[in-house]
């Protein structure tokens, strides 16, 4: 899956998991995950939803250091390639 496709999929997943009203059409690779309504609790749901949708397994701790949607997409692309 190409990175743009992954970002499109992430937009869809995040929309379901976020507790904030966000204009998801304006979300880009530079958008920070914090700005999309995820906190220390709801990020756990996001990880669960990504794993369920993408059929990949990883620990939430592996996301430490990832700040933007683009960085998350790159991380997922590497996981899906394995």
């Amino acid at each position: 899956m190409e990175q743009e496709e992954i970002i499109k999929m992430l937009r869809h997943i995040m929309k379901q998991s976020s507790h904030e009203k966000v204009d998801w059409d304006t979300v880009t690779r530079e958008s920070t995950i914090d700005s999309l309504g995820f906190d220390s609790l709801s990020i756990l749901d996001l990880v669960y939803d990504i794993q369920t949708t993408c059929h990949v397994a990883f620990e939430a701790e592996e996301l430490i250091g990832i700040k933007t949607v683009g960085e998350l997409a790159t991380f997922l692309k590497s996981k899906m390639a394995k």
Partner: protein
């Protein structure tokens, strides 16, 4: 003891099968519209009961979206929407969202709590084991997620907790709020209740208990005090009230909807599901004493009136035990014929109907009271609304576990 303060209602919110705001709810009641329908939330082919008072899901979602809220759990969603209505009406939402913090307590009642989240979590666990459970299962499923979410959403910084006492839950929540304000522990409390019974599991439990009507005709199934009643009909919804001290309401020129002047409670201490007339009567007397009034001052009794053989007959006896000769002249209504039994939310929604009756000087009608049961010897209200002669009304709520609760409200005449 410190001087007891007067307690008034300054905000009302109602999410019900009869409408998603108090005005629609009340208009439909007076027009005799029934909110019970054939169940659409899930397939009922294996169930004995096929009707219920469901809240319109599409309208609920639209209302959430219009408020900029994201759906989390059906019970919580309905509680949040009822709360925003009550707080907004009371003029207590400032600067938001995000809102400015306000020193308001949040106390809600519920029977089954965040039951849709529990059902979904258990279904996923059954299919996939522990890996199928969301990491946020605990905060999603805990019963107090209702008041926690309300407190966080509207930044209400007083205490928040949930009362769980079956069908009396929201009446207890209002009663506790009343006492907190009356006795000086709080100036403002957002109180009410919420329950969402229409998932295959919770509804299945009620189906198998054998207390629900098997009448497949939605508009005719719930028949409180009627000779042909054959059980209760479930409903879902949420109601919220902003209660505050009279001093607080007057100081900020708030519009006062009613005064709450009494609250009583008791336990039967006899049986898990069979009601006791003695226990209920003690509770009504307790409420009258709390309000400092005599039975002849009551202008309307809004009964628990579930439509089961046991409840309606028992409640008829307990009303006579508690009120004596005065019961001959007091109109008795039962709102569940309009929207079913809202379980932990029934008390607050029916108390809202009571307040609206006081304001509008009307006793709302009873649907389906075609042949009053001779064993229920009361002045039962029929299909037409009545004029309310006195400015005081009593609201009964009784629950499994032998819980009895009674609220007394008075029209606010300034």
């Amino acid at each position: 003891m410190a001087e007891r303060r007067k307690v008034v209602v300054t905000g009302i919110g109602a999410i019900t099968p009869l409408g998603l705001d108090e005005a629609t709810f009340w208009r439909n009641m007076l027009s005799g519209v029934c909110g019970v329908r054939t169940i659409r939330s899930f397939d009922t082919k294996d169930y004995k009961t096929t009707v219920g008072g469901e809240v319109d899901s599409e309208a609920l979602l639209a209302l959430l979206q219009a408020r900029g809220m994201v759906s989390s759990d059906r019970t919580v969603d309905m509680a949040l929407l009822a709360s925003v209505q009550a707080l907004e009406q009371a003029g207590m939402l400032r600067g938001g969202p995000p809102y400015s913090p306000a020193e308001i307590a949040t106390i809600f009642g519920t029977g089954a709590g965040a039951s849709h989240s529990l059902y979904n979590t258990f279904a996923s666990f059954s299919q996939k084991g522990v890996r199928g459970m969301r990491p946020t299962s605990v905060p999603r499923c805990m019963a107090n997620s209702i008041t926690a979410q309300i407190s966080m959403k509207f930044r209400l910084t007083g205490p928040n907790y949930v009362i769980v006492s079956a069908c009396t839950s929201s009446t207890v929540a209002i009663g506790i709020a009343f006492r907190m304000i009356r006795d000086g522990y709080a100036d403002k409390v957002l109180c009410g209740g919420a329950d969402a019974a229409f998932d295959p599991f919770v509804f299945g439990g009620w189906n198998n208990l054998g207390v629900m009507s098997r009448n497949p005709d939605p508009a005719r199934a719930c028949r409180p005090f009627d000779s042909a009643r054959d059980g209760c009909v479930l409903g879902e919804g949420a109601g919220a009230l902003l209660l505050e001290s009279l001093d607080s309401a007057v100081a900020r020129s708030a519009h006062i909807r009613a005064e709450i002047c009494g609250y009583g409670e008791s336990s039967d201490a006899e049986h898990m599901t069979s009601p006791s007339a003695e226990g209920q009567a003690r509770c009504m007397k307790d409420a009258l004493a709390s309000a400092g009034i005599t039975p002849d001052q009551i202008g309307f009794i809004n009964a628990h009136g579930t439509g089961t053989r046991a409840n309606d007959e028992c409640e008829s006896r307990s009303i006579r035990m508690a009120l004596g000769k005065a019961a001959d002249g007091i109109p008795v209504g039962a709102n569940k014929s309009f929207f079913g039994h809202l379980l932990g939310a029934c008390g607050v929604i029916e108390f809202i109907a009571t307040i609206l009756g006081l304001e509008n000087r009307k006793v709302p009608p009873n649907l389906n009271l075609d042949n009053p049961d001779p064993a229920c010897s009361l002045q039962l209200v029929g299909k037409n609304a009545m004029e309310l002669a006195s400015p005081v009304a009593m609201k009964n709520s009784f629950g499994f576990g032998g819980n009895n609760t009674v609220l007394i409200a008075k029209r606010w005449e300034g």
